[in-house]
């Protein structure tokens, strides 16, 4: 098992995104550090557009993640509906 992670800035834009990630990835652990949030998950983490839109109340383009992204770990696969991080191990 390897840990994939994503870190986002702590701000109003990311609050619903972090909520959506925690909801969609029950195995994920959310660490709150000064000015940033780091989310770890075993082997795989999925960020789903629909879950973010539900919380945000507007349409959301997953590429908007770029603005508040700090770092990540794992192979990235992105399409319109999901942004996925994975390690093969």
């Amino acid at each position: 098992m390897s840990t994939v992670f994503i870190a986002l800035q702590t701000n109003e834009d990311t609050r619903p995104i972090i909520e959506a990630i925690a909801h969609d990835n029950p195995q994920a652990v959310v660490h709150r550090q000064p000015a940033m949030v780091k989310i770890d998950a075993p082997n795989r983490l999925v960020i789903r557009r629909e879950s973010i839109e539900e919380r945000l109340g507007r349409e959301y383009d997953l590429q908007e993640l770029q603005i508040n992204l700090i770092t990540l770990s794992g192979h990235v696969d992105e399409d319109e509906d999901a942004f996925t991080l994975t390690w093969n191990s």
């Binding site: 940033m36 590429q63 770029q66 992204l69 700090i70 770092t71 191990s89």
Partner: protein, 506 residues
Amino acid sequence: MEMKVAKKKLGLKERYRVMTRDLGWEPSYHTKEALYPYVGYEGIKIHDWEKWEDPFRLTMDAYWKYQAEKERKFYAIVDAHAQNNGHLNLTDARYLSALKIFLQAISPGEYAAHKGFARAGREFPGVGTQVACQMQAIDEIRHAQTQIHALSNYNKYYDGFHAFSDQRDRIWYTSVPRSFFDDAMSAGPFEFMVAIGFSFEYVLTNLLFVPFMSGAAYNGDMATVTFGFSAQSDEARHMTLGLECIKFLLEQDPANVPIVQAWFDKWFWRGFRVLGLVSTMMDYMLPKRVMSWREAWNMYGIENGTALFNDLARYGIRPPKGWDDAEKAIDHMSHQFMLGLYQWSFGTSFHSWIPSDDEMAWLSKKYPTTFDKYYRPRWDHIKKLAAAGTPYKNYGLPKLCQTCQLPTVFTEPEDPTLICHREVEYKGERYHFCSDGCQHIFENEPEKYIQAWLPMPQIHQDPIRGDLGAWMDWVNLKDGQDNGDYVGSNDQRNFDAWRGLATSNE
């Protein structure tokens, strides 16, 4: 009759193809070999450039949109910082030393990365690669500019920020990252990608930016947090590009595997030596600390590095050669380097200091097996000398490592009481090294490293000729102002006086 055709928005993958792949063309009056002369000479074999995919599938139109948004956020905070006496909101002006090192040593590296990616974008034949390299070239020049811009606010009030570009070229501690980037930029395009895209971005920037910027937030420095996180939002894309590049090389031809492994070995160790500076900034220069260098290494070095090497094992890649030696150095390096900075503080364009009792208690808690045993006694001794009015200064010139350009301040992996020093004779000249890792790198490419400019031999050459005052003029450092102990410095006096004015009605 007018037909109304619903204009369907392109999906992400299709848009990426149209806006990236379709920008390429087949040359008709030059051969591909003539257009891309450097792509073959490192021995890397590529059979199908189409296999290179940017996993973010970022197209130029989306790139400009999101980068503009990042810039708006950045300047809103930089303006607020200037308007709200941001230079007085720091926990302590000692923190400024970390920023000075950042500006002198790291920001010029961003500019070097910009030049390198502009070149790589020209030298790679694949259009997906070309576009990704161009974006990264623009990102890197943005990083250099936003960092210089944000820190220029501090230059209005404090010493040591004024001559970062001279100091990048001429001073000794900055030559460590400088030689890292010069080495990468004078390599072939694939090695450059492994050096910067992979080693620097994937393995190292997490350690450089993430805990350090979180530390900046903790220390009241919103300007730095903002440029750091703004840059780091690009780094996430760069890391992904770096990892993609590695997978691409490993999948294209099995003959690429040993070449890539050798670059891994080399650039891991080159990068690890640059981290000597970073570890010291984290353990000693943040008045309020977020995590120790050791904790950051566990999180971003060991955990993240191991995940990566396990993943790449399926291609026959093993962890880099210096991995075990690195682990042995983690609990020592920041202490050894800070002791070096303190004893040579007449030659640094920032201040250093003896850690306070509180800080020493924190260090012994974070480094239970090493600090009290090896380093506290030295600081106690140095403290006594300072109290007696005879502060410890070392005016001797250290041996410099021919590869990483650090003074030989680090110890043997197996013996923390013995300075590590290696020597190699090559064509009748003797060369010094700080470690086995650096010696091996030299032995693989001696003709490259014998050409290195080293800051210590320069001191005996024109226009300095062994004169310390002439050296200070040459590196643009004002004695008694930019250098030396923080205690009694202009920075300390000014910060205390101005903060007093800002928080009272005197």
